[in-house]
């Protein structure tokens, strides 16, 4: 195995606050009575409902059909009866059309392990891409970009390397770690399918140094393979961020404003590739995922396989609460989204559910900057958050753009270390949103 590598500038190591779930095996969560399945769980246009209230659906049925190129199909994970199609809240607090299903009836056995594990090899590249879309595959790292778009290399672009992100994107989340540990064979097949689709002959699988078991499981299976390399990176947030991961693995920097493809790289999260294997080989649509449930208010933290459409309230009823929750976060502690209701459903992009008690949910006051420079020291993009924020607060968006506002990856390191508890990352996000809104307005006129 290679020595410990990492990206060069910035980053931090959030304190371990005893929320670690790395050693807890994946368990199946209880099945909920009702499913709230949003028709938009990915970046792109929402799927169109193909069911109506009263319809009976069985496990794995398509309930939403992709409505354009950047869109994927949506499936129901459980059999039942469609009771409504209504607007329901999602993790981003937007209300989107949602299919509500009352779970009932028998399971038909769709999406089972196939006898013939090699059958996919006869599929062409286009057939694989088509299946990706039909099986609802998106990136499971959090951005939920449709996989068939990412893997369709446009003419003129050359991809040479696939990087598999087995680095946990956020502190205290361990779903990917557990998945690799428990389904290493599936990951290898997923990598093979991905490599065939991209037409690349080199794959780097990146782990963090604190997950040696998972790395070893994979290493044992690819020892004889010259085209798959396992790399161990230093434990440092945001090691799992796409650009930082590419830098650490290859030394290449994705240019400002560019995409990984500009340096010949495609990055996929390990969980996404396992889902890819299950979709292509086992014919199983993406309708459930492994979610790390943790936080100091949770009684039984761990990694749970949860069906898409289960509401947070259902999960919390199962894992139990030992303290009154004050923050429910979908995702991780750094970039996750705090929710105002527990009625929000788990979707394809939900990597974690974090429930924090009042004691860990302080409301941070935006105090004056004391110019300590810590935000500069930790910024993995080499930005100067303190200067950026000043410009954004003064509505000097052009100046902020020159300072690299649009390069911000919103990792939150700057806010996390700020002794004045300033809303640095938050303000930069605001600046970016304002910039996008302005651009839209200009385009509309």
């Amino acid at each position: 195995m290679a020595q410990e590598r990492t990206f060069h500038h910035g980053g931090m190591h959030p304190r371990d606050i005893g929320l670690d779930t790395m050693s807890s095996p994946i368990r199946n969560a209880f099945l909920p009575h009702f499913l709230y399945i949003p028709l938009l769980q990915h970046i792109g246009s929402p799927a169109e409902a193909v069911v109506s209230p009263g319809d009976i659906v069985s496990r794995g049925d398509v309930i939403g059909k992709a409505s354009g190129y950047v869109s994927v199909d949506i499936h129901t994970p459980l059999p039942g009866r469609v009771v409504a199609i209504e607007d329901h809240v999602t993790a981003t607090a937007d209300k989107v059309p949602t299919v509500v299903i009352e779970v009932e009836g028998a399971f038909s056995l769709k999406g089972q392990r196939q006898e013939n594990q090699q059958g996919w090899k006869s599929l062409s590249r286009d057939e694989i891409l088509k299946r990706m879309k039909e099986k609802g595959l998106v990136g499971l790292g959090g951005a939920t970009f449709p996989m068939h778009v990412k893997y369709a290399v446009p003419p003129g672009k050359k991809v040479t390397t696939l990087i598999v992100n087995a680095v946990e994107c956020e502190p205290f989340l361990s779903a990917d770690n557990r998945l690799v540990l428990e389904q290493a064979d599936d990951l290898v097949t997923g990598i093979d399918i991905a490599m065939k689709t991209l037409g690349v002959d080199r794959t780097i699988v990146g782990f963090e140094a604190d997950m040696p078991e998972a790395a070893k499981e994979l290493q044992d299976r690819v020892k004889a393979r010259r085209d798959i390399e396992v790399m161990i990176f230093a434990v440092k947030y945001p090691q799992g961020a796409e650009k930082q991961l590419i830098k650490a693995a290859t030394g290449l920097e994705v240019p400002s404003g560019g995409l990984p493809m500009d340096v010949g790289v495609v990055v996929s999260n390990a969980g996404s590739l396992i889902a890819l294997k299950e979709a292509i080989v086992d014919d199983k649509p993406l309708f459930e995922r492994v979610v790390t449930v943790t936080g100091d208010a949770v009684q039984k933290p761990g990694n749970y396989k949860i069906v898409v459409g289960a509401r947070v309230a259902d999960i919390l009823a199962e894992v139990g609460l030992k303290k009154k929750p004050a923050r429910i976060i979908l995702g991780g502690p750094m970039m996750g989204l705090a929710q105002y209701t527990d009625q929000v459903p788990v979707t394809k992009g939900t990597s974690g559910i974090m429930v924090l008690s009042r004691r860990r949910s302080a409301i941070y006051r935006h105090r004056p900057c004391v110019r300590c420079g810590k935000c500069i020291d930790v910024c993995p993009m080499g930005l100067m958050p303190l200067k950026l924020v000043t410009q954004i607060e003064l509505v000097q968006d052009e100046a902020a753009k020159k300072l690299g506002m649009l390069d911000c990856i919103e990792c939150g390191c700057c806010s996390a270390v700020c002794p004045s508890e300033r809303h640095l990352a938050q303000t930069i996000k605001l600046g970016k949103l304002r910039h996008i809104a302005k651009k839209k307005e200009a385009a509309g006129d």
């Binding site: 920097e253 994705v254 400002s256 609460l321 996750g336 409301i363 420079g373 020159k402 690299g404």
Partner: protein, 350 residues
């Protein structure tokens, strides 16, 4: 199952975990690490030292309270920043015998520090000059005799003298025949009463906070471990003081053959306020550069200016002026140093 409702849920944008090293924690921690140095001065020079300290802290805190009240700003007395400023003003007052230093000196120093240096420019984070040093310099020029005379000897050790170590170095006073030979004797060819050991342990006259290098080093190292003090400033400050005083120190000592590379670097580092300045004054976040490279330049500049002022100026002490002069250059230094941005060609910052 614990009951809760949506009203219990806090909604905020991430990150949801923050450092515990918040500004008030930092201020109180820094203040705490200064206590050994001040306590030592109190032991060595008697209770007037402690009275001066108490008065200057009280003046700073009251000024902060009144000003925030008058300006209708959120009350910031409890954030510890005024307390620390008061403490640092006290550290810059001469340690004297009972009643020798008039109490209006630290009071005016603290009021100037908080009211003018800090709040006139917009309060915490907006000041361009280290408030405590501004207060010290103000009273230094206002009451020169009080600030430069009346150094107390100590009943607790033998090095009784009314001159500070730097006075001795500069004006060749306090040279007592028959004293124990010291390293500085050998290097400087002259006879000084305090040995390096005296300087290190604080058995010399001086300002309240500067006399014991040992106590300051312990406090400073704690702050470095806690990442409150950014190590590059004290390191480069002390290193450049050592370098320049070694190169040029020998030129300025009265009554001996002048030569380059013959200065007593250790004597320069341990005497005067270099250690206090390097760990506690030059490391003030607000008035120092925000980038790593900038902080190195800042530390180097402080050391060079300290030695320049000590050797060629009319003052014996150069630390406060050196740091304040470097405070002025901070905006320029910050312009020079910006981090390498990810994804841009080498050397392209902002």
């Amino acid at each position: 199952m614990i009951k809760y409702s949506s009203e219990d849920l806090v909604v905020s944008s991430g990150p949801h975990l923050r450092t515990k090293l918040r500004v008030p924690v930092v201020m109180w921690l820094v203040s705490t690490t200064l206590i050994p140095a001040i306590a030592w001065a109190g032991y060595a020079f008697g209770p007037w030292v402690l009275i001066v300290t108490a008065v200057s802290v009280l003046a700073a805190v009251l000024t902060e309270f009144v000003i925030t009240l008058l300006l209708g700003k959120p009350q910031t007395v409890t954030d510890g920043s005024a307390f620390l400023t008061g403490l640092l003003v006290a550290c810059n007052m001469p340690a004297t015998e009972w009643g020798v230093l008039p109490l209006y000196v630290p009071i005016v120093g603290s009021i100037f520090a908080i009211a003018v240096a800090k709040h006139a420019f917009g309060g915490l984070g907006q000041n361009w000059i280290n408030p405590a040093l501004a207060g010290r310099i103000f009273v230094f020029f206002a009451w020169l005799p009080a600030m430069t005379g009346g150094w107390a000897g100590s009943p607790h050790f033998d090095a009784v003298s009314s001159a500070t170590p730097l006075n001795m170095l500069k004006f060749r006073t306090g040279i007592l025949p028959g004293d124990i030979q010291t390293t500085s004797d050998a290097v400087l060819g002259m006879h000084l009463s305090p040995t390096h050991g005296d300087l290190f342990f604080g058995m010399v006259p001086g300002c309240i906070g500067e006399i014991s290098a040992l106590a300051l080093l312990v406090g400073g190292l704690i702050l470095i471990v806690l990442k409150i003090v950014q190590w590059e400033i004290p390191l480069f400050y002390i290193a450049s003081t050592a370098l320049f005083s070694w190169i040029f120190g020998g030129l300025a000592v009265a009554g001996q053959p002048q030569a380059f590379f013959s200065g007593d670097a250790l004597y320069h580092i341990l005497s005067g306020g270099v250690i206090l300045g390097a760990f506690y004054m030059a490391t003030d976040w607000v008035t120092t550069p925000v980038s790593f490279g900038g902080r190195i330049i800042f530390g180097l500049g402080c050391g060079a200016l300290t030695v320049l002022i000590r050797l060629t100026g009319s003052n014996v002490e150069g630390v406060s002026f050196a740091i304040v002069l470097m405070n002025i250059t901070v905006p320029l230094i910050d312009r020079l140093f910006s981090p390498q941005r990810f994804g841009l060609p080498e050397g392209r910052g902002v």
